[in-house]
């Protein structure tokens, strides 16, 4: 994903959430988002069974 694509995604998602990103914050938010997405990609690359259960356990 290019920087421009990432910014477009960031702006659209922030708009959906109702968060206004000030011009002076944009670079830092984009850099943090790029880092978070790298982390997410690392996690997603790990093969898991469809039946794998998430960690949190809800007790009714």
């Amino acid at each position: 994903m290019t920087d421009a694509e990432l910014e477009a995604y960031m702006d659209a998602s922030a708009a959906v959430l109702g968060i206004a990103i000030a011009p002076e914050w944009r670079d830092a938010v984009r850099a943090n988002l790029a880092l978070s997405l790298r982390m997410a990609t690392v996690v997603a690359a790990f093969p898991l069974e469809d039946e794998a259960e998430p960690a949190p356990v809800f007790t009714p």
């Binding site: 995604y9 978070s36 690392v42």
Partner: protein, 457 residues
Amino acid sequence: MSDTAWMTASEIAAAVAAKKVSARAVVEAALARITERNPVLNAFTDITAARALARADAVDAGRAGGALAGVPFAVKNLFDVAGLPTRAGSAINRERAPAARDAALVRRLEAAGAILVGALNMGEYAYDFTGENRHDGPSRNPHDTTRMSGGSSGGSGNAVAGGLVPLALGSDTNGSIRVPASLCGLFGLKPTFGRLPRTGSFPFVSSLDHLGPLARSVGDLALSYDAMQGPDAEDPMCAGRPAVSVLPALEQGIAGLRVARAGGYFRTNLMPDAAAAVEKVASALGVAREVELPEAARAQAAAFLITTTEAAALHLERLRARAREFDPDVRDRLIAGAVVPAAMVGRAQKFRRWYRDAVLRLFGEVDAILAPATPCSAPLLGQKTFVLDGVELPVRANLGIFTQPISFIGLPVVAVPVTGALPVAVQVIAAPWREDVALRIARHLEATGVAVAQRPA
């Protein structure tokens, strides 16, 4: 009793119980030290002097008391303290209504005779490893006040290491007790996830938040931990296990315990002082075995992801309405966290269970695992980057790379401080619910002089 500044909580409680010193004298001395030293250390954001003196008088009159009689303590300012708004290191929260009652752990410590003297500085909303705070200024390291205390429980670290109080409570989501314990040279206990109730504390990441003590001795960790255990229906994450006192087992030594050191991920990105600390502890324990925590780097990534997204969900309304009032470092990460796709976070929670199962298998073969607590000793205040294995990396995110994969699956850890030009700690990690094992090993290291909370010069 001329110098109570470096007395342990256990020593103070014994002296108060024997009426060698009054609780009032102990508390007055603590308040005097806070008045004198806090302008430099910047540990306390609130001092509850009137309340503390009234409580001390109650202890002296025999109306209150217990195993911690007369022991002054303080709490990270995300713990509710009756009458104070729970600021959690933020500017925004200062507008909250004053807390109606104390946090559960404050109530439990005071029920044992301890005396709350104030609330402590912290990184905003606990999203921090440095102990720096845009609104209140940084917590300064007592060993060198130009350096970081570590965070996010920065005030909990420097208040205890600076001799202001013998005991403080902090929170640890990804390392926020163990990082300041390392940088300030203290013993810190992060219990098993779900062991101590979080009732009456401001959350950060519900899936990962733990509370625990920092102190200058292992005995004080055990004493305070024993006073804080037990179920609490008000925290749904609290496991509800009965209290199991660890104090009686503390002096049992390490005979029969199988200890290994963590290899792979935990052998890289270490500066020489942190590497030497692990070497010293491993050598003192005669550790020959190395174990690999499988997929530790991925665990760090998954903890990072769950943290940033859950925290963003917590703060969403504040990000919409009041983003300018956040610490910019915290705000920019939270906004990024808010827009991470949810499907990726779901994967992280599934991976978490896989990783838990894989690591728990190791505990069939060993009783405890050693790992570094931080990659280095305290960086300078304001320092943005450091070099690990030849790569320049941001300090803020990377101080917690060794703590994060452990708290991710809630394992109990005692951070044990090793002295050097500056202190740095080693994690003693045990199986779930086996705080006693980690504490016994820590006590052995303390008794043999390997781990020491050194008094700053």
